[in-house]
Structures are given as C-alpha cells and as structure tokens.
Subunit: 270 residues, 2 copies
C-alpha cells in the first residue's frame, strides 16, 4: 500500500492512517470510508487503549510538567505522555499543549482546580465515549477522584526533587481558589509565593498518582468508589437535588466547603 502526496492533499489520508495504524494498537477506529473520510477524524473516538502505568513515575512526570505547563497540563500530559510511549498511536496524535488552558482554575480564573480538570479529560479519553452508557465508568472514576480531593489531606505525595517541605490541608472543595486559600491558612504562606506554587506542583503529582491508581484498578476490573459524599452533603441533597422537595440545584461537591453546614447554628443563607 502506498500513499501519494496527492492522496495526502485530497484528504483521504485520515482514513488510511486510521486503518493502517488501528491494527497496531488494537484500536478499531470509527471512521467512515470513501469521500466522507476527510470530513471525519483521523484518530478514533474514545475510549482509547490503556496499558497499566507506574503511578509513581507518572507522579514524578506530573511534578515536572507543572513547571512546564501548570497544573492541568501537568496531570494530563504525565498520563497521556506515558501512554504515548507505552501504546503509541492514537496518543501520538493528541495536541497535549491545549491542556495548558486549565492553568490556575482555567486561564487563571481560579475556578475548577486545573489538576482535576486535566485528570478528568485524561480519564474520559481513556475510558469514556459519546453514548450515555459509555459515560458511566469515567464519571464514576472522576466523582471518586473529586471526592478524594475534597476530603483527603493533600498533597499526599512528595516528589523526589521537591524544592521545599510542604504541609497538607483539606480543601473541602474542588475549586482552585478555595483549595489555595485553605492551604495558605494552614501553611501560613502567601498565595503567590514560591512555596504555594511548589504546593500546587506536589498536588499535581498527587492527583496524577491518584488518577493512575484509579485507572489501573479500572483496568483490572477492580474499581469501587472509595470516597463517598458525606452525610452532610447527602442531607443537603435530600431537599435540594434531584427528587428533593425543593429540587433547586444539582451538585456532587462538598456543600460545606462554601456553605456552612453541619455545625452551623442555622441553615446557610446561600
């Protein structure tokens, strides 16, 4: 089989690449044949093939990745980069630099923690799909990861080349600015200090490690959710979430991270 430059130019290459390389990596590309090929993607849709990874090696890579492309990129590229080496195509065909976008809770806005955003995208690329049924596994993995992030004292992994010693804190939120503030309070360190940046590098490593541990369990068919929503959150949701008497919101976040719950003397105003 040969591919001429004319073939490349007229756009039939994506189909041929998919067909030729699909067999190597065990991927069955979902591509149409013929004239429609150039309108379709040259790479298969998720789920992409997974090979169990060394979560410590990935964590170390994520720590380095933080200082190259920040939190979101650090987690995503540490996992996808490892799979690029271990699996090859289609991971060779992903423009990982786009994942820099999640830096500092997306473009420095400090909304969703970038390490969690990157982890979610990696998990979905590896285990998800467009069909509703295909969303169940990645969503369960992501929800468990997010609950862990809210509940565990983090960062819980010390990189080999750590620059400073970093204390742990419990975020009670998946948001960048809340997570940062909670840590700054415990560490007694300013939010734009080098120590806070190093803390986020450790956190990037910790999230990458936890994500790989989850993906490895899923690959073994051994994944079970470990971090459940708290009783407080369930109490909030019993009124405010689906089928509750009020049903005026939706969330699987820790309500208490922003709204006073549990020990609060009265029902929170927000």
């Amino acid at each position: 089989m040969t591919v001429s430059r004319r073939d490349l130019l007229k756009g039939s290459l994506p189909f041929m690449v998919g067909a030729a390389l699909g067999g190597i990596s065990g991927v069955a590309p979902r591509l149409v044949s013929g004239a429609e090929a150039d309108k379709q993607m040259a790479v298969p849709q998720p789920p992409w093939p997974y090979k169990k990874l060394d979560s410590i090696a990935v964590a170390e890579s994520a720590y380095d990745g933080y200082y190259t492309g920040a939190c979101n990129y650090g987690v995503f590229e540490s996992i996808i980069g490892a799979l690029r080496k271990e699996v090859g195509f289609p991971y060779t065909a992903f423009p990982s630099a786009m994942m820099v976008v999640g830096e500092g809770g997306v473009a420095q806005v400090a909304s969703l923690c970038g390490s969690l955003n990157g982890a979610a995208h990696a998990i979905f690329l590896i285990t998800g799909g467009l069909d509703k049924k295909q969303r169940e596994v990645p969503f369960a993995l992501i929800q468990d990861l997010y609950n862990w992030y809210e509940q565990a004292p983090l960062p819980d992994y010390k990189p080999k080349n750590a620059k400073y010693q970093i204390v742990t804190s419990v975020s009670k939120s998946n948001l960048c600015h809340v997570s940062v503030s909670k840590w700054c309070k415990v560490a007694k360190v300013k939010s734009f200090s080098k120590e806070r940046s190093e803390r986020c590098a450790w956190l990037t490593a910790a999230v990458a490690k936890q994500t790989v541990d989850l993906l490895n369990k899923q690959a073994d068919g051994a994944f079970k959710p470990t971090y459940a929503m708290s009783a407080d959150v369930k109490a909030c949701r019993s009124c405010h979430d689906q089928k509750g008497t009020i049903e005026n919101t939706r969330a699987m976040m820790d309500c208490g991270g922003c709204h006073f719950t549990g020990k609060a003397p009265k029902h929170p105003k927000i």
Copy 2:
C-alpha cells in the same frame, strides 16, 4: 513522495503528515525529524489555524450538540466541527467525544459550567500554546467570556427549534450548580426538569455564539476586553489577591456570587 505501509508501521508517518499537510492549512508543525518522529504527535501543537465562522450557525449546532453530548461537548464540537469543515486538518484529527467529560460541571459534579469549560478548550486550541507568551491571548479571551457569563442576563440566544420559552437570569458565578440555582429561582422551575435542560441547551448555544464572536474579533485583530471585573471584586482582590495585604487567595471570579459583598452589612465570613 510516497509513503509505504512499512513507513506507516515504523512510525515515521506523523512527521510526513505534518510536513505535507502543514503547507495546506498554514500550520507550521512542531515536529522533530528522524527516529524521534514516532514519539511525537502526528498533529501540530496549538495554535491551530482559524477561519472566521458564522456565530449563528455555530450556535444552532451547539444547541443540537447539547442534546447529543451535553454542554461542554455542545460548545466545543460546534466550533471544532465547523472548523473541521472549513479548514480540515488538523481539526479532522481531534477526538471531540472526549469533551463530553464536562457534562453538568464535569461528570455531573456541578463544578465549572461545562459550556465554559468547552469554550476554554476550543479557544486555547485555536489561539494558545505552551509558551507563557502564547497563553496571554487565550487567557484574555477566556477571562472576558467568563466575566460575560457571570454578568449578562443569559441565555441571550433563542435557537430556531427551541422547545420552550426560556427566561434569563444572571449567574454571578461560572459554576454549574450556582448558575442552575439562580435560573431555577427566576424561572420557578425545578433543576431536573425538561425546561431546565432546555435552558442549558440555550445557554450552550449562547456561549458558543459569544465564543465565536470573540474568536472572530481576535482574528480581525479587534479584540478588546469588554466585561471587566466589578468594583466589588476589585475591592476584595485589593486585600486578598496578589500583592494585597493579606494575599491569601487568587481568583477572577465574581466573589459576590458565593460570598456576600457590596450591600452586605459586614465582611463575609467565607
């Protein structure tokens, strides 16, 4: 130039594809030559070439996309899908179904609004890059989009095939559950109703339209930030953000969406 099946198999194809197709799309692929080629990506890193789009057509596509793959996918695929048709490669090489991940504020967790997450990823893929200098334009576009989302009465676009009439609300937050709750309060509708889902479909269309309008302005060299942070937010940040006397957090979100500000009788506790 011909490419044999052996070439495909030994992995030198990515470099050749990049080199051959780079000239068509105006992309200068950042790929190494020789033996390293198969370790690199088959597609160029961002920024990817942009051709100005019809924001109304994209909005309509986003509305439909919401009902296929939810909010994040709806925005992302409406833009990237349009560019797949208009530009071709490298957009043909992106597995858009991975963007389903942001559904309901990431995997139903109700954190960052999925339409905003999808928009950010599309903006960065088109205008961003790994180098710090390359992050400035996409981050400015994203920050303006996020401020618009927090401040404007939304949804501000009615799709042609709308199922219901939808009222507008002001979210004062980029978070899924906050945005949903604010709308439910105004609309007097439950959060898991068909009407709320339709509202999020409209919102997906509105965010896609606004994103394309921003990308078109940037393509014309005419982008200027329109939605600034409020005086209240600036007041919070003057103490709590970088170089403030307390410097214990970081955020460009509307503080007042969760923390009481402005008219509050006393400083918020959280």
